[in-house]
Symmetry: C2
Subunit: 552 residues, 2 copies
């Protein structure tokens, strides 16, 4: 058995070492275009920012190690130029001397990755304009930083763009972030990105949303970035982080099936349309575990698992990839942002019905020092309460809660299960009622009809029938001090503790929407009013949720 | 409807506020013996240690708040003396003036808690000897600390004992910890507590295992603690943390069913043997979710949930308590220790079959600064791989992994599900192959027969047929440097990278056990040898696991 693996980074290297553990006899060949295999691409921004000081740390596994320990024939700086499916061989090119040779395979795994998109804009190839894919790109950016640049422009506010922004600021640069969409981190729902935009501003980042770079020119100070609005930004360093495109040329040339967005099509065993050819990692189209739709998720975790599964299947194991659920996490300075499952915007696009709740708990007991707030948005089916997705923005403990919810989605759990979760509580780590339990209480309560929830969209008339449905009475049940510090326009202040005695003054013929700061006092207020016969609803997540949508 | 709640701390206060949200009309009365309701008992040690500086922070909800916001008739310093089940009334005593009165109920919830055990030892009532249950106990210990004590003895190395030790050391005291068992934290398996004992020693705590206090005497320096071994310890402060006993007197006097360990018997709706009387919190006997056995778990999380469920059921909801799975967490200085589900010792006691694995990953990618090691022990069924329990000791990220495993147990997941978990990865938070995935790979690999695992007990002959089964050949596949720094007696060193070329020198007629540092190189070595026809097994978790059992 000769197994050829085209590409030796995350998915390719995982496939190779797994294959060796399964078979001592197989001949395993890695053909890798670059000089490195299995490097930590997620670490590159932090090397640029100086948190990771030794470049060698990014070399997770060296070619030498793969040769010695795993007896893998690793050929770096060797690109696969073509696949001869009928003859079951690939044409490989030594990038050092240009020589080509043919290598026969019994099974072939394609792990070519995805390439950063470099749009054909005027001046895009000028020196000082970079993308970041591999250690060589990183070295070039590092060189540029070492020459003492002062201003940088990052184009694209996705994961890599935001990581670069943080690290360039840490390096002392003035950074402008340009993003075409009207929000940062496009996979998230817009309102959940509001705290990130605020935090970027607080860190001195100039954030230009709904803006794009139209061209680049050399000027005295370095580069001029020409924006759509007509403005020009001065800069000595530009990094493009506007997305990646699956490296599918080999597959397309060989006639393998490819999806509409360019991902190589594979089945659950990671087999392409040719059963002797597998594909793994950023180049493939996979199934979204929650929606069942095809998707592309260029992340290291799924790539590693896919490599393992391809090797397993080649050596006769029944391994299956269950799809991805888009779990992702990002640190943006002092914030942590994370998501799992499907977003509201995707649910709307697919026209799926859903309910949602927002909660704003702290990561651990508030009586213990250092508790940090988070905002958690939970999406679930309105009938059974099955969890569809979650997004969290906050500080400590965000990573934990997103992982708990990722497991809940994998297990097909509901919001009723969240109520009952027995999570580890000591004051340093959580609360007797964990943020997860709290989200479960609110969501399950609304499904059971205990809590009648109103959304900000309903309140503002931006959802459904429009402003006509705006409630006639909006009640702020916080303290007068909180009310004075900011409230929703048109609200009347009746603190919850005085609500029972002021009941007689409230309209019984019109709906009442109550709200507090995070939704908890509002919930009690809604219960008091509903039981007294009023048509009351509680604004989910309270004033803090309202502020995600509307900030003065 | 008049609802009487006897006890207003965690479970009682939760029941009261839930009841009010469900019914504006109900008359809700809390009778609480102490002066406070709903205080943060988990925070008390940290107030003593000085991390929590304001005592008021420990008052989660005041009687005033319960009265004003929830219209609850809160009577503190009022104890329930007796229940008249036939007459459906309780006799309550005002501890201020000694007056008694009768209060009728439609439904009664008992939330009396559990009392610290104070063994009848000579001198146990001397001044300076404390238990810690409520804020008044805490105030007395604080007074003692403020008088400038230098030496403390803590008796009992359970959760509260260890929390006290940490905080007394933080306060500058010399602390001796006396524990009857041969390990700290008796709910954990012994080998998993070894790192805790080492850490306590490193922090200057004198730990006396297998030792007990037999009596106390007043001496010039304060107190003499007489130990079983005959030694005496000087001290000015003694805290007893040797366990709690359910406060069941009211229930027993009223003829309610009580379990063999004193817990008040309840059904899944938290109803006692009298359907009009419920019981919640530390005083009840509940079902272990994993084993189905009755158990008592004095923890705040389950108490809160039970209070909620009792109120729900009283007001006609179908709420059920699913049992507890014993999820618990503790910080011990710089360590975090956590568990969920069932322990190996419990499985052995119940004679249940199980398999186990140990892994020693870091909390996040090792290429990113600050990665901290952890040791994770996973218990699962040997047939289907269903997860039974987990214990983790380490630093950052332990809380996250125990919560993930707690959810997995709740969902009835298997080790095969752990392999596929898509957890959030960025280098600050995890690894592309998370510790949870790693545990899944090892456990699932061993169930599939890819990995043949040996346990330390098998190696040492302390499990099963005895030393006769000791393998004839023990192979250390680490580097010569690692081998020289410490190895298992009798081992021969053949680094994994040289194993293939030394195959001819290995015995083919006897079993071979290989090991490395954490189990990963050993796994490859075992695969190499097994495929070459040797009877090879890999010591699960490697030398680090061996060291949990044997430390020189």
């Amino acid at each position: 058995m000769r197994l050829i693996i085209a590409g030796g980074v995350a998915g390719g290297a995982s496939a190779a070492t797994r294959a060796r553990r399964l078979s001592e006899d197989a001949e395993i060949v890695i053909l890798e275009r670059g000089p490195d295999v299995s490097f930590a691409n997620c670490g590159m921004p932090y090397y640029l920012g100086g948190e990771i000081t030794e470049r060698d740390k990014l070399l997770v596994v060296t070619p030498e190690r793969l040769r010695q320990r795993y007896r893998i024939d690793v050929r770096t700086r060797t690109s696969v130029e073509a696949i001869d499916r009928r003859g079951k061989k690939v044409r490989a090119r030594d990038l050092g001397n240009g020589r080509e040779c043919e290598v026969a395979y019994d099974k072939l795994i394609l792990a070519p990755g995805a390439a950063p998109i470099r749009p054909p804009l005027p001046g895009v190839d000028l020196p000082g304009i970079f993308t970041l894919r591999n250690l060589q790109d990183m070295d070039r950016i590092k060189e540029s930083l070492d020459r003492g640049v002062r201003q940088a422009v990052v184009v694209g506010a996705g994961f890599i763009g935001l990581e670069l922004v943080e690290n360039l600021v840490r390096h002392g640069l003035q950074v402008t972030l340009v993003e075409l969409m009207d929000q940062v981190l496009p996979p998230l729902d817009k309102e959940m990105t509001r705290p990130i935009a605020d935090h970027l501003a607080a860190k001195g980042v100039a954030l230009l949303l709904g803006e794009s770079a139209e061209g680049f020119a050399e000027v005295e100070e370095g580069l001029a970035v020409q924006l759509k609005c007509g403005r020009e930004l001065s800069s000595q360093l530009v990094v493009l982080g506007i997305g990646v495109r699956p490296e599918n040329k080999l597959a397309v040339d060989a006639g393998l099936a490819v999806g509409p967005r360019g991902g190589i099509r594979v089945n659950e065993h990671m087999q392409t349309s040719d059963p002797d050819i597998y594909a793994v990692g950023d180049a493939v189209e996979i199934k979204d575990f929650v929606t069942g739709e095809p998707t592309q998720v260029p992340l290291a975790g799924p790539a590693n698992r896919q490599g393992r599964i391809a090797a397993d299947h080649i050596f006769g194991r029944p391994a299956r990839f269950r799809g991805t659920q888009g779990t992702a996490i990002l640190r943006v300075f002092d914030l942590t942002v994370a998501m799992t499952g499907v977003s509201e915007k995707t649910l709307r696009r697919l026209d799926r019905s859903f309910s949602k709740v927002y909660v704003h708990p702290t990561d651990h007991a508030s009586y213990y020092p250092g508790a940090q707030p988070m905002t958690l948005k939970l999406l679930f089916t309105p009938d059974t309460g099955k969890i569809l997705g979650a997004q969290i923005v906050g500080g400590s403990g965000v990573d934990k809660r997103i992982d708990v919810l990722a497991v809940a989605i994998q297990a097909g759990m509901t919001v009723f299960d969240l109520e009952e979760m027995e999570l580890a509580y000591a004051p340093q780590y959580g609360s007797a009622k964990d943020p997860i339990n709290m989200a479960g209480f609110v969501a399950a309560g609304s499904l059971r009809g205990d809590q009648t929830q109103a959304t900000v969209e309903e309140l503002l008339g931006t959802d459904g029938p429009g402003p006509a449905s705006r409630p006639a009475c909006l009640l702020d049940v916080r303290t007068p001090q909180e009310f004075a510090a900011g409230h929703i326009p048109g609200a009347v202040n009746v603190p919850v503790d005085e609500l029972r005695s002021h009941r007689g003054e409230l309209p019984s013929d019109r709906p009442i929407t109550v709200y507090c700061q995070v939704g908890q006092r509002g919930y009690l207020a809604q219960r008091i009013l509903s039981q007294a016969g009023f048509q009351a609803a509680n604004l989910g997540g309270g004033f803090l949720t309202y502020r995600l949508f509307n900030q003065s």
